[in-house]
Protein backbone atom coordinates (compact mmCIF):
# COMPACT_ATOMS: atom_id res chain seq x y z
CA UNK A 1 0.00 0.00 0.00
CA UNK A 2 2.81 2.33 0.92
CA UNK A 3 4.51 1.37 -2.35
CA UNK A 4 1.37 2.27 -4.27
CA UNK A 5 1.22 5.66 -2.55
CA UNK A 6 4.83 6.36 -3.45
CA UNK A 7 4.22 5.29 -7.03
CA UNK A 8 1.27 7.64 -7.44
CA UNK A 9 3.57 10.51 -6.41
CA UNK A 10 6.43 9.27 -8.58
CA UNK A 11 4.20 8.92 -11.66
CA UNK A 12 2.82 12.43 -11.12
CA UNK A 13 6.28 13.99 -10.84
CA UNK A 14 7.62 12.03 -13.82
CA UNK A 15 4.62 13.05 -15.93
CA UNK A 16 5.24 16.69 -15.05
CA UNK A 17 8.87 16.35 -16.10
CA UNK A 18 7.74 14.65 -19.32
CA UNK A 19 5.46 17.61 -20.08
CA UNK A 20 8.49 19.84 -19.58
CA UNK A 21 10.64 17.70 -21.86
CA UNK A 22 7.88 17.56 -24.47
CA UNK A 23 7.65 21.35 -24.42
CA UNK A 24 11.40 21.53 -24.76
CA UNK A 25 11.35 19.29 -27.84
CA UNK A 26 8.77 21.65 -29.31
CA UNK A 27 10.62 24.91 -28.68
CA UNK A 28 13.94 23.36 -29.73
CA UNK A 29 12.29 22.36 -33.03
CA UNK A 30 13.42 18.78 -32.47
CA UNK A 31 10.05 17.11 -33.08
CA UNK A 32 11.27 15.60 -36.35
CA UNK A 33 14.70 14.80 -34.89
CA UNK A 34 13.87 11.16 -35.58
CA UNK A 35 12.03 10.89 -38.90
CA UNK A 36 10.65 7.44 -38.04
CA UNK A 37 8.82 5.90 -35.06
CA UNK A 38 9.38 4.07 -32.74
CA UNK A 39 12.91 3.60 -34.04
CA UNK A 40 15.18 6.56 -34.77
CA UNK A 41 16.76 6.44 -38.26
CA UNK A 42 15.95 2.75 -38.36
CA UNK A 43 17.87 2.06 -35.14
CA UNK A 44 16.88 1.55 -31.51
CA UNK A 45 19.76 3.77 -30.49
CA UNK A 46 20.06 6.82 -32.77
CA UNK A 47 23.12 7.13 -35.01
CA UNK A 48 26.06 9.11 -33.66
CA UNK A 49 27.56 9.75 -37.08
CA UNK A 50 26.51 9.98 -40.73
CA UNK A 51 28.17 6.62 -41.51
CA UNK A 52 25.63 4.82 -39.35
CA UNK A 53 22.71 6.22 -41.34
CA UNK A 54 20.76 3.60 -43.35
CA UNK A 55 20.94 4.12 -47.13
CA UNK A 56 17.26 4.84 -47.70
CA UNK A 57 17.23 7.87 -45.39
CA UNK A 58 18.14 11.31 -46.70
CA UNK A 59 21.32 12.44 -44.88
CA UNK A 60 20.02 16.04 -44.94
CA UNK A 61 17.48 14.98 -42.30
CA UNK A 62 20.17 13.89 -39.90
CA UNK A 63 20.94 16.33 -37.12
CA UNK A 64 22.60 14.54 -34.27
CA UNK A 65 21.54 17.10 -31.62
CA UNK A 66 17.88 17.07 -32.64
CA UNK A 67 17.87 13.28 -32.97
CA UNK A 68 19.11 12.80 -29.41
CA UNK A 69 16.73 15.41 -27.98
CA UNK A 70 13.76 13.64 -29.55
CA UNK A 71 15.17 10.26 -28.54
CA UNK A 72 15.51 11.48 -24.94
CA UNK A 73 11.85 12.49 -25.02
CA UNK A 74 10.86 9.01 -26.24
CA UNK A 75 13.01 7.23 -23.66
CA UNK A 76 11.61 9.33 -20.85
CA UNK A 77 8.12 8.79 -22.24
CA UNK A 78 8.69 5.04 -22.09
CA UNK A 79 9.88 5.39 -18.49
CA UNK A 80 6.74 7.33 -17.57
CA UNK A 81 4.61 4.72 -19.31
CA UNK A 82 6.28 2.01 -17.26
CA UNK A 83 5.81 3.95 -14.04
CA UNK A 84 2.11 4.50 -14.78
CA UNK A 85 1.69 0.81 -15.66
CA UNK A 86 3.22 -0.22 -12.31
CA UNK A 87 1.04 2.34 -10.52
CA UNK A 88 -2.04 0.87 -12.20
CA UNK A 89 -0.99 -2.66 -11.23
CA UNK A 90 -0.46 -1.67 -7.58
CA UNK A 91 -3.67 0.34 -7.60
CA UNK A 92 -5.72 -2.60 -8.83
CA UNK A 93 -4.03 -4.84 -6.28
CA UNK A 94 -4.70 -2.61 -3.27
CA UNK A 95 -7.57 -0.33 -4.16
CA UNK A 96 -9.80 -2.12 -6.66
CA UNK A 97 -12.66 -1.69 -4.15
CA UNK A 98 -12.28 2.11 -4.32
CA UNK A 99 -13.81 3.41 -7.55
CA UNK A 100 -12.47 6.93 -6.89
CA UNK A 101 -8.94 5.56 -7.22
CA UNK A 102 -9.44 2.66 -9.59
CA UNK A 103 -11.19 4.39 -12.49
CA UNK A 104 -9.08 7.54 -12.77
CA UNK A 105 -6.00 5.30 -12.70
CA UNK A 106 -7.37 3.05 -15.44
CA UNK A 107 -8.21 6.14 -17.50
CA UNK A 108 -4.73 7.60 -16.94
CA UNK A 109 -3.14 4.35 -18.09
CA UNK A 110 -5.13 4.06 -21.30
CA UNK A 111 -4.67 7.74 -22.10
CA UNK A 112 -0.92 7.20 -21.70
CA UNK A 113 -1.01 4.43 -24.31
CA UNK A 114 -3.04 6.75 -26.52
CA UNK A 115 -0.38 9.45 -26.05
CA UNK A 116 2.34 7.10 -27.26
CA UNK A 117 0.29 6.35 -30.35
CA UNK A 118 -0.32 10.09 -30.94
CA UNK A 119 3.46 10.53 -30.81
CA UNK A 120 3.79 8.16 -33.75
CA UNK A 121 1.07 10.05 -35.64
CA UNK A 122 2.97 13.29 -35.06
CA UNK A 123 6.05 11.89 -36.76
CA UNK A 124 4.03 10.42 -39.64
CA UNK A 125 2.24 13.72 -40.30
CA UNK A 126 5.45 15.80 -40.01
CA UNK A 127 4.08 17.52 -36.87
CA UNK A 128 0.49 18.28 -37.76
CA UNK A 129 -0.37 21.29 -35.52
CA UNK A 130 -3.76 19.91 -34.46
CA UNK A 131 -2.17 16.64 -33.35
CA UNK A 132 0.51 18.51 -31.39
CA UNK A 133 -2.21 20.35 -29.46
CA UNK A 134 -4.08 17.09 -28.85
CA UNK A 135 -0.86 15.48 -27.63
CA UNK A 136 -0.45 18.24 -25.04
CA UNK A 137 -4.14 18.31 -24.12
CA UNK A 138 -4.22 14.64 -23.13
CA UNK A 139 -0.94 14.98 -21.24
CA UNK A 140 -2.67 17.64 -19.11
CA UNK A 141 -5.69 15.39 -18.55
CA UNK A 142 -3.38 12.52 -17.53
CA UNK A 143 -1.49 14.67 -15.04
CA UNK A 144 -4.76 15.92 -13.51
CA UNK A 145 -5.97 12.31 -13.14
CA UNK A 146 -2.68 11.33 -11.50
CA UNK A 147 -2.87 14.24 -9.05
CA UNK A 148 -6.42 13.14 -8.25
CA UNK A 149 -5.32 9.55 -7.61
CA UNK A 150 -2.25 10.55 -5.57
CA UNK A 151 -4.34 12.77 -3.32
CA UNK A 152 -7.14 10.23 -2.84
CA UNK A 153 -4.50 7.64 -1.97
CA UNK A 154 -2.96 10.03 0.53
CA UNK A 155 -6.36 10.40 2.21
CA UNK A 156 -6.63 6.62 2.75
CA UNK A 157 -3.88 6.76 5.38
CA UNK A 158 -4.79 10.28 6.59
CA UNK A 159 -8.44 9.81 7.44
CA UNK A 160 -8.67 12.98 9.50
CA UNK A 161 -7.67 15.26 6.65
CA UNK A 162 -10.29 17.94 5.84
CA UNK A 163 -12.43 16.67 8.76
CA UNK A 164 -12.60 20.04 10.52
CA UNK A 165 -12.71 22.14 7.37
CA UNK A 166 -15.96 23.51 6.04
CA UNK A 167 -16.08 25.03 2.58
CA UNK A 168 -18.96 26.60 0.67
CA UNK A 169 -20.98 23.63 -0.68
CA UNK A 170 -21.84 24.90 -4.16
CA UNK A 171 -18.42 25.09 -5.79
CA UNK A 172 -18.60 22.39 -8.44
CA UNK A 173 -19.61 24.78 -11.17
CA UNK A 174 -16.79 27.16 -10.31
CA UNK A 175 -14.19 24.36 -10.43
CA UNK A 176 -15.52 23.08 -13.74
CA UNK A 177 -15.52 26.58 -15.21
CA UNK A 178 -11.95 27.14 -14.02
CA UNK A 179 -10.66 23.83 -15.41
CA UNK A 180 -12.40 24.33 -18.76
CA UNK A 181 -11.18 27.93 -19.01
CA UNK A 182 -7.62 26.86 -18.24
CA UNK A 183 -7.64 24.04 -20.77
CA UNK A 184 -9.13 26.38 -23.39
CA UNK A 185 -6.46 28.94 -22.52
CA UNK A 186 -3.71 26.37 -23.07
CA UNK A 187 -5.22 25.36 -26.41
CA UNK A 188 -5.49 29.04 -27.45
CA UNK A 189 -1.87 29.49 -26.41
CA UNK A 190 -0.71 26.57 -28.51
CA UNK A 191 -2.79 27.93 -31.38
CA UNK A 192 -0.81 31.17 -31.12
CA UNK A 193 2.37 29.14 -31.28
CA UNK A 194 1.07 26.78 -33.93
CA UNK A 195 -0.25 29.73 -35.93
CA UNK A 196 3.12 31.43 -35.78
CA UNK A 197 4.65 28.25 -37.07
CA UNK A 198 2.13 27.79 -39.87
CA UNK A 199 2.73 31.33 -41.09
CA UNK A 200 6.45 30.81 -40.78
CA UNK A 201 6.19 27.61 -42.80
CA UNK A 202 4.85 29.55 -45.76
CA UNK A 203 6.88 32.70 -45.09
CA UNK A 204 10.09 31.46 -43.49
CA UNK A 205 11.73 34.86 -43.43
CA UNK A 206 9.20 37.21 -41.76
CA UNK A 207 9.75 38.80 -38.35
CA UNK A 208 8.03 37.70 -35.13
CA UNK A 209 6.36 41.06 -34.51
CA UNK A 210 4.71 40.95 -37.91
CA UNK A 211 3.59 37.40 -37.21
CA UNK A 212 2.03 38.47 -33.93
CA UNK A 213 0.05 41.21 -35.65
CA UNK A 214 -1.33 38.65 -38.08
CA UNK A 215 -2.48 36.51 -35.16
CA UNK A 216 -4.47 39.37 -33.64
CA UNK A 217 -7.74 37.58 -32.78
CA UNK A 218 -6.09 34.58 -31.13
CA UNK A 219 -3.91 36.79 -29.03
CA UNK A 220 -6.90 38.90 -27.91
CA UNK A 221 -8.85 35.78 -26.97
CA UNK A 222 -5.87 34.48 -25.00
CA UNK A 223 -5.57 37.77 -23.11
CA UNK A 224 -9.28 38.13 -22.38
CA UNK A 225 -9.63 34.55 -21.19
CA UNK A 226 -6.51 35.15 -19.09
CA UNK A 227 -8.25 38.03 -17.34
CA UNK A 228 -11.31 35.85 -16.74
CA UNK A 229 -9.12 33.12 -15.26
CA UNK A 230 -7.44 35.62 -12.95
CA UNK A 231 -10.84 36.77 -11.68
CA UNK A 232 -12.00 33.17 -11.25
CA UNK A 233 -8.90 32.24 -9.29
CA UNK A 234 -9.41 35.15 -6.91
CA UNK A 235 -13.08 34.20 -6.52
CA UNK A 236 -12.13 30.61 -5.71
CA UNK A 237 -9.47 31.81 -3.30
CA UNK A 238 -12.03 33.90 -1.41
CA UNK A 239 -14.50 31.03 -1.28
CA UNK A 240 -12.02 28.44 -0.09
CA UNK A 241 -9.79 30.53 2.16
CA UNK A 242 -11.82 33.51 3.40
CA UNK A 243 -15.41 32.27 3.36
CA UNK A 244 -14.53 28.87 4.81
CA UNK A 245 -14.36 27.62 8.37
CA UNK A 246 -10.95 26.31 9.29
CA UNK A 247 -9.62 25.63 5.77
CA UNK A 248 -6.85 23.03 5.65
CA UNK A 249 -3.21 23.97 5.17
CA UNK A 250 -3.22 22.20 1.84
CA UNK A 251 -6.22 24.23 0.68
CA UNK A 252 -4.77 27.58 1.75
CA UNK A 253 -1.40 26.82 0.20
CA UNK A 254 -2.71 25.50 -3.11
CA UNK A 255 -5.19 28.37 -3.47
CA UNK A 256 -2.53 30.98 -2.76
CA UNK A 257 0.00 29.27 -5.01
CA UNK A 258 -2.51 29.33 -7.88
CA UNK A 259 -2.84 33.12 -7.58
CA UNK A 260 0.95 33.54 -7.44
CA UNK A 261 1.44 31.31 -10.48
CA UNK A 262 -1.23 33.16 -12.45
CA UNK A 263 0.62 36.41 -11.75
CA UNK A 264 3.82 34.77 -13.00
CA UNK A 265 1.93 33.66 -16.12
CA UNK A 266 0.83 37.23 -16.84
CA UNK A 267 4.42 38.40 -16.53
CA UNK A 268 5.92 35.59 -18.65
CA UNK A 269 3.14 35.99 -21.24
CA UNK A 270 3.97 39.67 -21.69
CA UNK A 271 7.69 38.87 -21.71
CA UNK A 272 7.08 36.54 -24.65
CA UNK A 273 5.71 39.39 -26.72
CA UNK A 274 8.56 41.73 -25.83
CA UNK A 275 11.37 39.18 -26.02
CA UNK A 276 10.30 37.81 -29.43
CA UNK A 277 9.11 34.44 -28.15
CA UNK A 278 12.25 33.49 -26.29
CA UNK A 279 12.09 29.66 -26.23
CA UNK A 280 12.88 29.08 -22.55
CA UNK A 281 10.10 31.46 -21.49
CA UNK A 282 7.67 29.74 -23.87
CA UNK A 283 8.59 26.49 -22.21
CA UNK A 284 7.99 27.74 -18.66
CA UNK A 285 4.82 29.60 -19.67
CA UNK A 286 3.37 26.28 -20.76
CA UNK A 287 4.79 24.25 -17.92
CA UNK A 288 3.43 26.58 -15.22
CA UNK A 289 0.01 26.32 -16.87
CA UNK A 290 0.18 22.56 -16.26
CA UNK A 291 1.03 23.18 -12.58
CA UNK A 292 -2.00 25.42 -12.20
CA UNK A 293 -4.21 22.68 -13.64
CA UNK A 294 -2.74 20.19 -11.16
CA UNK A 295 -3.39 22.59 -8.27
CA UNK A 296 -7.01 23.04 -9.37
CA UNK A 297 -7.26 19.27 -9.13
CA UNK A 298 -5.83 19.44 -5.58
CA UNK A 299 -8.36 22.10 -4.55
CA UNK A 300 -11.21 20.13 -6.03
CA UNK A 301 -10.31 16.83 -4.35
CA UNK A 302 -9.79 18.51 -0.95
CA UNK A 303 -13.07 20.40 -1.25
CA UNK A 304 -14.98 17.29 -2.30
CA UNK A 305 -13.54 15.27 0.57
CA UNK A 306 -14.64 17.85 3.09
CA UNK A 307 -18.11 17.95 1.57
CA UNK A 308 -18.37 14.13 1.61
CA UNK A 309 -17.16 13.50 5.18
CA UNK A 310 -18.93 16.49 6.68
CA UNK A 311 -22.16 15.73 4.87
Amino acid sequence: MRLFRNFTILSTILTYILIFIGGMVRVAGAGMGCPDWPKCFGRWIPPTSLEQLPDHIDPAKFNIVLAWIEYGNRLFGALVGLSIAITLYLGLKHCSHLPRIKWPMVAAFFLTLFEGWLGSVLVKTVLNPFTITLHLFFALIIVMLLVFVAQETYYISNIDAEKNSHYPPKMKFLFALMAISLLTEVVLGTEIRGGLEMIRKDNPIVESQFLLDMLGPFKYAHTILGILITILSVLIWFSLVKSSINPSQLMVQSSTLIIALILIQIVTGEMLVFLKFMPIIQLFHLWIASWILGLISVQYVAWQRSVIING
Binding site: F20, A28, G29, D58, A60, L66, V126, K201, I205
Partner: protein, 195 residues
Protein backbone atom coordinates in the same frame (compact mmCIF):
# COMPACT_ATOMS: atom_id res chain seq x y z
CA UNK B 1 7.05 21.72 3.84
CA UNK B 2 9.73 24.41 3.47
CA UNK B 3 12.22 21.67 2.71
CA UNK B 4 10.07 20.18 -0.06
CA UNK B 5 9.55 23.65 -1.45
CA UNK B 6 13.27 24.40 -1.65
CA UNK B 7 13.95 21.01 -3.26
CA UNK B 8 11.25 21.72 -5.82
CA UNK B 9 12.66 25.16 -6.51
CA UNK B 10 16.18 23.78 -6.94
CA UNK B 11 14.88 21.11 -9.34
CA UNK B 12 13.00 23.69 -11.36
CA UNK B 13 16.03 25.94 -11.63
CA UNK B 14 18.21 23.01 -12.68
CA UNK B 15 15.63 21.95 -15.28
CA UNK B 16 15.56 25.53 -16.55
CA UNK B 17 19.34 25.70 -16.90
CA UNK B 18 19.46 22.28 -18.55
CA UNK B 19 16.68 23.18 -20.98
CA UNK B 20 18.35 26.49 -21.89
CA UNK B 21 21.54 24.65 -22.66
CA UNK B 22 19.78 22.04 -24.79
CA UNK B 23 17.67 24.62 -26.66
CA UNK B 24 20.82 26.61 -27.37
CA UNK B 25 22.57 23.50 -28.64
CA UNK B 26 19.61 22.72 -30.88
CA UNK B 27 19.65 26.27 -32.23
CA UNK B 28 23.35 26.05 -33.08
CA UNK B 29 23.02 22.62 -34.63
CA UNK B 30 21.65 24.01 -37.87
CA UNK B 31 25.04 24.88 -39.36
CA UNK B 32 24.93 24.25 -43.08
CA UNK B 33 28.22 22.76 -44.34
CA UNK B 34 30.33 24.20 -47.17
CA UNK B 35 30.82 21.28 -49.56
CA UNK B 36 32.50 22.51 -52.76
CA UNK B 37 32.29 25.18 -55.44
CA UNK B 38 30.13 24.74 -58.49
CA UNK B 39 32.57 24.59 -61.43
CA UNK B 40 32.31 26.84 -64.48
CA UNK B 41 29.48 25.98 -66.82
CA UNK B 42 27.49 27.69 -69.51
CA UNK B 43 23.94 26.80 -70.51
CA UNK B 44 20.86 28.40 -72.03
CA UNK B 45 17.61 29.00 -70.18
CA UNK B 46 14.03 28.74 -71.43
CA UNK B 47 14.12 32.38 -72.61
CA UNK B 48 17.19 31.70 -74.77
CA UNK B 49 19.46 33.68 -72.43
CA UNK B 50 22.78 32.27 -71.38
CA UNK B 51 23.13 31.14 -67.78
CA UNK B 52 26.49 30.36 -66.19
CA UNK B 53 28.11 29.98 -62.78
CA UNK B 54 28.19 33.81 -62.63
CA UNK B 55 24.41 33.83 -62.33
CA UNK B 56 24.75 31.99 -59.03
CA UNK B 57 26.63 34.89 -57.44
CA UNK B 58 24.65 36.91 -54.90
CA UNK B 59 21.70 34.49 -55.00
CA UNK B 60 20.57 31.53 -52.94
CA UNK B 61 19.93 28.81 -55.52
CA UNK B 62 17.93 25.60 -55.29
CA UNK B 63 18.91 23.33 -58.17
CA UNK B 64 17.74 19.99 -59.53
CA UNK B 65 18.08 17.75 -62.58
CA UNK B 66 14.89 16.73 -64.40
CA UNK B 67 13.31 16.22 -67.82
CA UNK B 68 9.88 17.34 -68.92
CA UNK B 69 8.53 13.99 -70.18
CA UNK B 70 9.60 12.10 -67.07
CA UNK B 71 6.93 9.95 -65.46
CA UNK B 72 8.95 8.75 -62.49
CA UNK B 73 9.79 10.88 -59.46
CA UNK B 74 10.04 14.13 -61.49
CA UNK B 75 6.39 15.22 -61.20
CA UNK B 76 6.72 15.07 -57.40
CA UNK B 77 10.06 16.90 -57.54
CA UNK B 78 8.59 19.59 -59.76
CA UNK B 79 5.56 19.92 -57.45
CA UNK B 80 7.92 20.37 -54.50
CA UNK B 81 10.05 22.84 -56.43
CA UNK B 82 6.86 24.75 -57.34
CA UNK B 83 5.88 24.89 -53.69
CA UNK B 84 9.30 26.25 -52.74
CA UNK B 85 9.01 28.76 -55.56
CA UNK B 86 5.72 29.99 -54.07
CA UNK B 87 7.04 30.02 -50.50
CA UNK B 88 9.95 32.26 -51.46
CA UNK B 89 7.96 34.37 -53.94
CA UNK B 90 8.76 37.60 -52.13
CA UNK B 91 12.42 36.91 -51.57
CA UNK B 92 14.35 38.26 -54.58
CA UNK B 93 17.54 36.57 -53.33
CA UNK B 94 16.17 33.09 -53.93
CA UNK B 95 16.28 31.53 -57.39
CA UNK B 96 15.55 28.11 -58.84
CA UNK B 97 17.41 26.12 -61.45
CA UNK B 98 16.19 22.96 -63.17
CA UNK B 99 18.63 21.40 -65.61
CA UNK B 100 17.20 19.05 -68.22
CA UNK B 101 18.91 15.69 -68.61
CA UNK B 102 17.11 15.01 -71.88
CA UNK B 103 18.34 17.79 -74.21
CA UNK B 104 17.32 15.82 -77.33
CA UNK B 105 13.64 16.21 -76.48
CA UNK B 106 13.63 19.20 -74.14
CA UNK B 107 14.44 22.04 -76.51
CA UNK B 108 14.03 25.66 -75.52
CA UNK B 109 10.41 25.73 -76.67
CA UNK B 110 9.56 22.64 -74.62
CA UNK B 111 11.23 24.10 -71.56
CA UNK B 112 9.39 27.39 -72.01
CA UNK B 113 6.04 25.60 -72.21
CA UNK B 114 6.94 23.56 -69.17
CA UNK B 115 7.93 26.63 -67.15
CA UNK B 116 4.59 28.26 -67.99
CA UNK B 117 2.82 25.08 -66.94
CA UNK B 118 4.45 24.95 -63.50
CA UNK B 119 4.28 28.69 -62.85
CA UNK B 120 8.01 29.25 -63.20
CA UNK B 121 7.87 32.11 -65.69
CA UNK B 122 8.60 35.08 -63.42
CA UNK B 123 12.32 35.15 -64.17
CA UNK B 124 13.29 33.41 -60.93
CA UNK B 125 13.11 29.81 -62.13
CA UNK B 126 15.58 28.92 -64.85
CA UNK B 127 15.16 25.78 -66.93
CA UNK B 128 18.58 25.10 -68.43
CA UNK B 129 19.59 23.34 -71.61
CA UNK B 130 22.96 22.23 -72.92
CA UNK B 131 24.45 19.33 -74.89
CA UNK B 132 24.26 15.98 -73.15
CA UNK B 133 28.02 15.66 -72.57
CA UNK B 134 28.26 19.01 -70.77
CA UNK B 135 25.26 18.08 -68.64
CA UNK B 136 26.73 14.68 -67.76
CA UNK B 137 30.04 16.27 -66.92
CA UNK B 138 28.50 18.98 -64.75
CA UNK B 139 26.25 16.50 -62.98
CA UNK B 140 28.93 13.90 -62.32
CA UNK B 141 31.99 16.06 -61.68
CA UNK B 142 30.41 19.33 -60.63
CA UNK B 143 27.62 18.08 -58.40
CA UNK B 144 28.94 14.59 -57.59
CA UNK B 145 25.64 13.01 -58.68
CA UNK B 146 25.42 9.87 -60.79
CA UNK B 147 24.91 10.47 -64.52
CA UNK B 148 25.36 7.12 -66.21
CA UNK B 149 21.90 6.34 -67.43
CA UNK B 150 20.31 9.64 -68.46
CA UNK B 151 17.60 10.70 -68.72
CA UNK B 152 15.79 8.03 -66.66
CA UNK B 153 18.60 7.53 -64.18
CA UNK B 154 18.79 11.10 -62.95
CA UNK B 155 19.21 11.95 -59.28
CA UNK B 156 16.24 13.07 -57.19
CA UNK B 157 18.31 15.50 -55.10
CA UNK B 158 17.69 19.19 -54.58
CA UNK B 159 20.98 21.04 -54.26
CA UNK B 160 21.32 24.17 -52.13
CA UNK B 161 23.91 26.64 -53.43
CA UNK B 162 24.86 29.82 -51.59
CA UNK B 163 25.53 33.36 -52.83
CA UNK B 164 29.20 32.53 -53.55
CA UNK B 165 28.37 29.56 -55.75
CA UNK B 166 29.29 27.02 -53.10
CA UNK B 167 27.29 23.80 -52.79
CA UNK B 168 26.00 23.69 -49.21
CA UNK B 169 23.74 20.67 -48.89
CA UNK B 170 21.69 18.00 -50.72
CA UNK B 171 18.04 17.15 -49.99
CA UNK B 172 15.70 14.39 -51.07
CA UNK B 173 13.49 16.19 -53.61
CA UNK B 174 10.58 13.79 -53.13
CA UNK B 175 10.33 13.72 -49.33
CA UNK B 176 8.14 16.07 -47.27
CA UNK B 177 10.19 16.39 -44.12
CA UNK B 178 13.35 17.02 -46.17
CA UNK B 179 11.48 19.93 -47.79
CA UNK B 180 10.88 21.48 -44.37
CA UNK B 181 14.59 21.28 -43.55
CA UNK B 182 15.44 22.79 -46.93
CA UNK B 183 13.06 25.71 -46.29
CA UNK B 184 14.59 26.39 -42.92
CA UNK B 185 18.12 26.27 -44.38
CA UNK B 186 17.18 28.63 -47.22
CA UNK B 187 15.65 31.07 -44.73
CA UNK B 188 18.82 30.91 -42.66
CA UNK B 189 21.04 31.66 -45.69
CA UNK B 190 18.79 34.53 -46.83
CA UNK B 191 18.83 36.08 -43.37
CA UNK B 192 22.62 35.72 -43.30
CA UNK B 193 22.81 37.48 -46.65
CA UNK B 194 20.70 40.40 -45.41
CA UNK B 195 22.60 41.13 -42.23
Amino acid sequence: MAKIFSYALATIILLGIGASWIIDKAKNSHDIPHLKSVPDFSMINQEGESFSQDNLQGKITILDFMFTSCMGPCPLMTTNMSKLHKVFLNEPEVQFVSITVDPEVDNQKKLKEYSNLVGGNDGRWHFLWSDIDSIKNLKRNGFMLFADNLPEGHAIKFVLIDHEGTIRKYYDGTDNSSQEILKRDVAQLVKGLRT
